[in-house]
């Protein structure tokens, strides 16, 4: 029997009370860490998407109708294909204010060996590309050859592995960094491979590709505007002078996403703050009622010779243990819930969702932990203070 074990015994042998308190602290830590991680992930996803698109302007055919088609490919992961004549590429390339220009060709696949759903195959030209190559991870080849592909982060195949498209084995020669968008489920390859895959699709009776050839047509033209030139002027120039195509400033294309994200972030922030205040109030009320319920127990300890300081230590230790266990459980649950389901969250919200780096998460976890434990400790201090103000003898009289 050791006096310092009393707080542990109080927790273990009063399981209902302890469980209720731990659950409450757990909710508090979940709301804090979860809210923070979700908000940060959404912001990081948008930043990543902006950076990753790399282009200031995207030109798509009118048949793409609106920016929604592009958004749906990037965010919702719906594979699509729309095409325009390659002459637009040559015409736009000669315009003023264009620093870099590269075309991409979108090809949708049927189910591939790697994936449970159709994925987007994007053809690009490594010679002119400035949006894919910068994101190839270390050790990856930056120029995919024939039947070689660069795989998005979430494609379930490592470098050296193969994926079957239209009955052709394609070798993964590089992987891209994570974006938090459905670009992570796309694969990139050179035009030769695209042509070979189109031929293969014809052999396999996928008739919708029959007339398409990346030598003659492209899906999108990506433009990096020269410094000193106004992006909107370049967009207007293209839209005025080029028929049947539409130029969109990337920032404008993402404005809808950004607005949604802003809305969700605000709602999340308000929810998190409301939940915080609510749970803190409940916690204080719960602790206060606990003081009342345990007044006699504490008075009995005082009768035996437990000083106010020793009493404060007992209450403090109990609170620390409950706070630590509750906070840890809440944080582990939060990480378990957010990380494996980040893709699902991105799909369901239609927003880019890129979870923070391990270091960033560690900082968030540390801050959450400190705040929760401090909250528990302050409540304990309040409890100990109110206890020490009353004579033990008076408390004992109350119960009789």
């Amino acid at each position: 029997m050791k006096f310092r074990l009393l707080p542990f015994k109080n927790i273990v042998n009063q399981p209902v009370r302890s469980f209720a308190l731990i659950m409450m602290v757990m909710l508090l830590s979940m709301s804090m860490l979860g809210g923070t991680l979700i908000t940060q992930s959404l912001r990081r996803g948008l930043n990543s998407l902006e950076t990753r698109l790399g282009a200031d302007v995207i030109v798509v055919p009118d048949e793409a109708a609106s920016k929604k088609d592009l958004e749906s490919i990037l965010l919702d992961g719906v594979p699509g294909y729309f095409y325009m004549d390659r002459k637009y590429y040559d015409e736009i390339a000669n315009k003023e204010g264009i620093r870099k220009i590269s075309a991409q060709y979108y090809l949708a696949s049927t189910k591939a060996g790697c994936c449970s759903m159709p994925i987007q195959i994007i053809g690009y030209d490594p010679d002119t590309d400035f949006t894919v190559t910068p994101w190839i991870k270390e050790n990856g080849a930056d120029r995919p050859g024939m039947y070689e592909i660069v795989a998005g982060y979430d494609i379930n195949s490592d470098i050296g592995g193969t994926i079957r498209f239209f009955d052709r084995e394609c070798k993964v020669v590089a992987k891209l960094d994570k974006t938090g968008t459905q670009l992570d489920n796309a694969v990139y390859t050179g035009y030769d491979t695209i042509k070979a895959l189109i031929d293969a699709s014809k052999e396999n009776s996928f008739k919708f590709f029959s007339e398409q050839n990346p030598d003659d047509i492209v899906s999108s033209i990506l433009i990096d505007v020269e410094d000193g030139y106004d992006i909107q002027s370049v967009v207007d120039d293209i839209n005025v002078h080029e028929k049947k195509v539409q130029a969109v400033a990337t920032k404008n294309m993402l404005s809808g996403v950004s607005d949604s994200l802003g809305g969700i972030s605000d709602v999340t922030r308000i929810l998190v703050v409301t939940l915080w205040i609510l749970i803190l109030i409940i916690l204080i009320i719960y602790f206060s009622s606990m003081i009342h319920v345990r007044r006699k127990e504490f008075a009995i300890l005082r009768v035996m010779g437990v000083s106010q300081k020793m009493m404060a230590k007992i209450v403090f230790m109990e609170s620390i243990i409950i706070s630590v266990v509750g906070a840890m459980a809440g944080m582990i649950l939060t990480v378990i819930m957010i990380y494996p389901f980040s893709n699902l969250i991105s799909q369901q919200t239609g927003l880019p969702f890129l979870t923070p780096s391990a270091g960033n998460v560690a900082v968030n976890v540390a801050v959450t932990f400190l705040v929760i434990v401090a909250a528990g400790t302050l409540t304990a201090a309040y409890e100990a203070l109110s206890l020490s103000k009353t004579d033990a003898g008076l408390v004992l009289r109350e119960g009789n």
């Binding site: 029997m1 050791k2 006096f3 009393l6 015994k9 109080n10 273990v12 042998n13 009063q14 006699k296 127990e297 008075a299 009995i300 300890l301 005082r302 009768v303 035996m304 010779g305 437990v306 000083s307 106010q308 300081k309 020793m310 020490s388 004579d391 033990a392 003898g393 008076l394 004992l396 009289r397 119960g399 009789n400």
Partner: protein, 224 residues
């Protein structure tokens, strides 16, 4: 050995002529070594308040309580708590089991507040449990005990540190005749060995074990 000089306790409450009332009017009392002192009186007469003031559990509104030459209420809370642990054993009224601890741990707890547990404490705890015939309940938790068993556990707990004074507030309240007599005899035996016992009781049988009997009435005390 122990004396209270002009102690009183008043509580804030609106009365006819004042904003407070006296639970214990100014009074003095002396407790002799090796004596059993009984305090009787009607409910609300101030008996419990008096023994709590003597035991250092309720600060008197006025007056002083001495143990030898030591003024109890001049001590800091830490000093008074340690002093109470070493020299006093208090048996409060009602059910006073700590529900997170077993009967055995409840009894041992006062012995480990200011030092590590020693084997003689463990032996004495078992001896007390046997003496009060609850040794078979040593591993049980208070919630599974009857009122009488909890009361005997509280008596054992008050005795574990071999105190110099026992303050007992209706120690036989939940006990049957057999156990009442057993506890009163135990108090007498301990007093004969040098311990002082101050008890509040309504037990008519108690007087034959006592050296001094006081009656309290409306906060005033006088020999019965």
């Amino acid at each position: 050995m122990m004396r209270a000089e002009n102690i009183s306790k008043k509580y804030p409450r609106q009365t006819k002529n004042a904003n407070y009332f006296f639970a214990v009017n100014p009074m003095s009392i002396e407790i002799h070594k090796g004596s059993v002192t009984e305090i009787i009186g009607r409910s609300g007469s101030g008996k419990t308040t008096l023994i709590h003031m003597l035991a250092g559990l309720i600060t008197p509104s006025e007056g002083k309580v001495y143990f030898g030459d030591k003024d109890l209420y001049s001590l800091s809370d830490s000093e008074l708590s340690k002093f109470r642990n070493q020299y006093f054993g208090v048996i409060p009224q009602g059910h006073t089991g700590l529900f997170s601890l077993t009967v055995y741990e409840n009894v041992l707890l006062p012995s480990v507040l200011y030092k590590n547990m020693e084997s003689k404490d463990e032996e004495y705890a078992m001896e007390l449990l046997q003496m009060l015939e609850i040794d078979s309940l040593a591993g049980e938790y208070p919630k599974s005990l009857s009122g009488g068993e909890i009361r005997r556990m509280a008596i054992a707990r008050a005795l574990i540190n071999r105190p110099e004074v026992i303050f007992a507030d209706e120690p036989t309240g939940d006990l049957d005749d057999y156990n009442t007599e057993k506890v009163l005899k135990l108090f007498r035996k301990l007093a004969d060995e040098g311990m002082s016992v101050v008890m509040v009781t309504h037990e008519s049988e108690a007087k034959k074990y006592c050296d001094n009997i006081y009656r309290m009435d409306s906060g005033n005390i006088k020999p019965a």
